[in-house]
């Protein structure tokens, strides 16, 4: 699997995701600078976490209009898979590649902690290594992770199996105390219509090392390696 990670001024988890991709695939991804209008030929494009452009205006809003994003959109339209984590998810919603929006956390505070996610859909490029209903433990670290969308969109996401992950208790129940940011219906990650784009707030890349955060996140990257070779 040849992956390209797009780095923006203010990205800060690109090293984490580069390592996770390397751990899963044995191959170092290419890092693309935001100002580059070209993204090299690849099997997967990743938007990492961080504070692109300082999150000024709105999280992800300015990055969504960078030259690299224009190239990314063209590539995504041709079916190249795109993964957006945290700030990457925010950018994907701002760029219109995923529906809905990510608002300030309900607590109004940044939150960094381990959370539990339930895998809602295992039939995808991104989640095939997991079982449907499996609970995994990965961290979140964000101030704007409160997902919202209109009722029609939510219904469509539910009906078509486009909700990838939900925040749950360790025993797999969606509950307010397990939801770190107030996201509607405990949504932690969603697919686009063709399930070629995944955006999620938690950081599976920080759960790919037995000595630092555990291994529950590696499945996402293994899934991609499996599907994309």
């Amino acid at each position: 699997m040849r992956a390209a990670v797009v780095s923006f001024p203010g990205s800060n988890r690109e090293r984490d995701i580069v390592m996770a991709l390397e751990r899963a695939s044995g191959r170092k991804p290419v890092v693309v600078w935001h100002g580059d209008a070209e993204i090299p030929d690849c099997d997967l494009i990743v938007l990492p976490g961080g504070f692109s452009y300082g999150d000024y205006l709105r999280s992800g809003a300015m990055a969504a209009h960078s030259p690299a994003m224009k190239a990314l959109k063209e590539r995504a339209a041709k079916g190249v898979p795109v993964l957006g984590v945290c700030n990457g998810f925010q950018i994907l919603t701002e760029a219109g590649l995923l529906p809905g929006a990510l608002m300030r956390n309900a607590t109004l505070k940044f939150v960094c902690r381990q959370v539990h996610l339930r895998v809602e859909e295992s039939q995808s490029l991104f989640t095939n290594a997991y079982e449907k209903g499996q609970v995994i433990r990965v961290p979140v670290a964000h101030a704007d992770g409160n997902y919202t969308a209109d009722e029609g969109t939510l219904k469509r996401l539910e009906d078509r199996g486009l909700i990838a992950f939900r925040y749950v208790t360790p025993d797999g129940r969606a509950a307010p105390e397990a939801n770190p940011n107030g996201s509607i219906r405990s949504i932690a990650g969603i697919f686009n219509e063709s399930k070629t784009v995944l955006g999620l707030m938690p950081h599976p890349e920080d759960a790919t090392d037995p000595n630092a955060g555990g291994m529950d996140g590696i499945g996402l990257f293994k899934s991609l390696v499996d599907a994309l070779h």
Partner: protein
């Protein structure tokens, strides 16, 4: 401001200079200064920049050792950690600004210390902080906690440096003067540590980073004066931080440092362009000429005075090799930051600053720095406090006392705070907040750095010398408990007004105690910061010499945490317990009594015990380890139980010791370990000459005391985790 206003005695006083200091200035200048020149003397001779009250005492610290690559005097200290790498670290206060404007004050405190570390060529890998707030009942405390924590998080999270450890205390002495001490640890190549000494007359001086505005003018002078009710009107002197620019500046500087371009580099921190240019020139024994018309400016009509004294954030001053200006311009353009050639290194030995073609500042650098006032202020030693025997202290039911202590402000969980800090970014955090010390991996090696901040101000107030020693040995203990070999410390000395002999006595006592502990432990001081005048209307803070310790693990997979992970493990107490309740948390929270001599501190004993514990951790003999400090044995076991989700059954207190002394005494040099090999631990302890005693074993679900009942972990957790969120909501 008018550049050439008449210098009246009032103007001199407003600039914080005494009559004698002004007379010295006149002697150095041999003429009346311009206002801008007066401003420069004022900030360079402020307590904050000149350490004029503490310097004679700071010199008594041990600062060298086989691992020390850079001791005090540069932007940060550096120690050798092998493999051609260096750990670079420093702690710094941002107390006064954080009280006036908590979010920006704390945020820019983090920004400043990050720059001190990456200026040295190090990539920051971790932030820590030590916070002191007033009484929870004080009307401002909640607002200050919220603002400071949000500010620290807002800055560090955005820059992408994990905030991995810290400590937070509450005490009425901080009602009018909170303490915000921020520490950064970075990694550099040992052969590529960048310094701040100007070299090579003719070399260009570059200004990089954010533009200069009017924020923070005279911040250093503000930080060198007592607070009064009017201080809050000084809000305009608090700088405003932009972590996004800091992140760009960090990446751009590290990228430029990888080229062969930089002669010297210094961050524009306190006193901005003034201190950075003066200090670079002074260290190199050279002069610098600056043209202020070339400084990137954010506001119109700024005078030389304002430009030189602005404390706008996220700026650096560089001296580059001949011809390297182009490399710098290219890299800073990539990161969309200003890069301006504003001057040149000269042989004149003078700081010559011009604006609009006119020389407005012309000061001889060496006397400005070398003849800075130096005071050996009179002091009186703090009166000795009587020892308090446990038998004379009210005895409470141990579990009742535990409930109260675990929910008390100082001992309650600080999860509400660290949840707001990204402590995981970088994916190298091996031990997260809540343990004895944080452990952060050195990427591409098996090594890791352990780091911690500690101080017990109530001990320092009761006996400055003992308290100073205790702050040092507690970091030593915490690092040893995670299996690290302590290497060196950085210190942040926070005190009241040094012009008062009793405060000066605290300063002297703490410094002497710290120095003694450092010498015995071979644990040198490599950087630090002093914050004095932490007083409001004559009320001083508790003496608070915060120590930041850094240690090395050769193999990060060998570290252990404090959590009890499974039932059936033996719990062993290492070290001697005499039941010392003087100046303890128990005495304060249960008996309502802030009195007595603090526990004796014996650095040699700490060394022997710490070496034993480190060996047990590294050898895999223990599964969990926790040092004993605030609250003593029972609080430590309760913390271990909550951290790992497994309880314990503890034997009754040994005969001959009052129960409350056994459970809550704060005797030093002690640890609790959990092990499947108790005989091996007892044998190793005997060989090391360290008392060891089996005190019980781990058990599911609750904490049980023989003959004194039990408490479920659920109840204990609700108490421990509940206090701070409930207080803040």
């Amino acid at each position: 401001m008018i550049p050439n206003a008449k210098i009246t005695p009032e103007v001199v006083k407003e600039h914080g200079l005494t009559e004698d200091e002004y007379a010295l200035l006149l002697k150095i200048m041999d003429r009346e200064p311009s206002l801008a020149e007066l401003g420069i003397f004022s900030v360079m001779w402020s307590e904050h920049c000149s350490y004029k009250s503490s310097r004679v005492w700071l010199k008594t610290f041990p600062t060298s050792g086989s691992k020390v690559l850079q001791g005090p005097g540069e932007n940060a200290g550096a120690v050798d950690i092998g493999d051609g790498l260096a750990a670079v670290f420093k702690i710094e206060s941002h107390n006064h600004p954080s009280f006036i404007e908590p979010y920006q004050g704390a945020a820019t405190g983090v920004g400043g210390i990050l720059r001190d570390v990456f200026t040295m060529g190090a990539r920051p890998i971790a932030n820590l902080n030590a916070l002191r707030f007033g009484s929870p009942d004080h009307p401002k405390t909640r607002h200050l906690v919220a603002g400071v924590v949000a500010g620290i998080g807002g800055y560090g999270n955005c820059v992408g440096v994990p905030t991995v450890a810290g400590e937070t205390n509450f005490h009425p002495s901080y009602n009018g003067n909170i303490l915000v001490n921020a520490m950064t640890v970075g990694l550099a190549r040992a052969d590529r540590i960048f310094k701040a000494a100007a070299r090579g007359p003719g070399n260009r001086v570059l200004y990089v980073g954010a533009k200069t505005g009017r924020d923070g003018i005279h911040g250093a002078t503000m930080a060198s004066a007592e607070f009064t009710e009017e201080s809050e009107a000084r809000r305009p002197t608090v700088q405003v931080g932009d972590p996004f620019t800091e992140k760009l500046l960090l990446e751009a500087c590290l990228e430029l440092m990888a080229e062969d371009a930089i002669v010297a580099i210094q961050d524009m921190g306190a006193a901005g362009l003034t201190s950075s240019s003066v200090e670079m020139a002074a260290r190199g024994g050279l002069g610098i000429a600056l043209d202020l018309d070339r400084v990137p400016i954010r506001e119109t009509g700024m005078t030389a005075y304002e430009i030189m004294l602005s404390e706008s954030q996220e700026r650096m001053l560089l001296i580059v090799k001949p011809g390297a200006e182009k490399i710098a311009e290219r890299i800073f353009a990539k990161w969309e930051l200003d890069c301006a050639d504003i001057g040149v290194v000269t042989e004149t030995g003078r700081l010559i600053v011009s604006k609009n073609g006119t020389v407005e500042i012309d000061i001889p650098v060496a006397p400005l720095v070398d003849q800075a006032p130096l005071y050996r202020r009179p002091y009186v030693a703090s009166p000795k406090r009587a020892e308090i025997k446990a038998a004379n202290v009210k005895a409470a039911e141990p579990l009742e006392a535990l409930r109260k202590l675990m929910g008390s402000p100082d001992l309650a969980s600080k999860r509400w705070i660290w949840d707001q800090y990204d402590h995981l970014v970088g994916n190298d955090t091996i031990q997260t907040p809540g343990g004895d010390a944080a452990v952060v991996r050195v990427r591409d090696t098996r090594k890791a750095l352990a780091m911690v901040v500690d101080c017990t101000p109530r001990y320092c107030a009761a006996d400055p010398r003992r308290g100073g020693m205790q702050a040092v040995v507690e970091t030593w203990r915490n690092l040893s408990a995670v299996g690290a070999l302590p290497i060196a410390i950085t210190d942040n000395l926070n005190f009241g007004n040094p012009e008062r002999p009793e405060i000066m006595g605290q300063i002297v006592g703490c410094i002497e105690g710290m120095g003694e502990a450092c010498r015995v432990l071979d644990y040198p001081v490599i950087s630090g910061n002093v914050s004095l005048y932490n007083e409001t209307n004559g009320q001083a803070i508790l003496p608070t010499p915060v120590v930041g310790g850094v240690g090395l693990l050769d193999d990060y997979t060998k570290t252990v945490g404090i959590g009890l992970a499974a039932p059936g493990r033996a719990l062993i107490l290492l070290g001697e317990t005499r039941g010392w309740l003087g100046a303890s948390i128990y005495l304060r929270e249960i008996a309502g009594w802030e009195e007595g001599a603090p526990p004796p501190v014996d650095p040699a004993l700490e060394k022997r015990t710490g070496d034993l514990v480190r060996g047990l951790v590294r050898g895999g003999t223990v599964e969990a380890c926790h040092d004993l400090s605030d609250g003593g044995l029972l609080v430590a076991v309760a913390e271990m139980a909550l951290a790992g989700g497994t309880g314990a059954r503890l034997d009754a207190a040994p005969t001959g010791l009052p129960g409350h002394g056994w459970w809550f005494g704060e005797d030093q040099a002690r640890y609790v370990v959990a092990t499947t090999a108790p005989e091996a631990v007892l044998k190793a302890a005997a060989a090391a000459g360290v008392p060891a005693r089996r005190i019980g074993e781990t058990a599911a679900g609750s904490l049980t005391l023989a003959g004194a009942g039990a408490i479920s972990l659920d109840e204990l957790r609700a108490i421990h985790e509940g206090w701070l969120p409930n207080y803040m909501s």
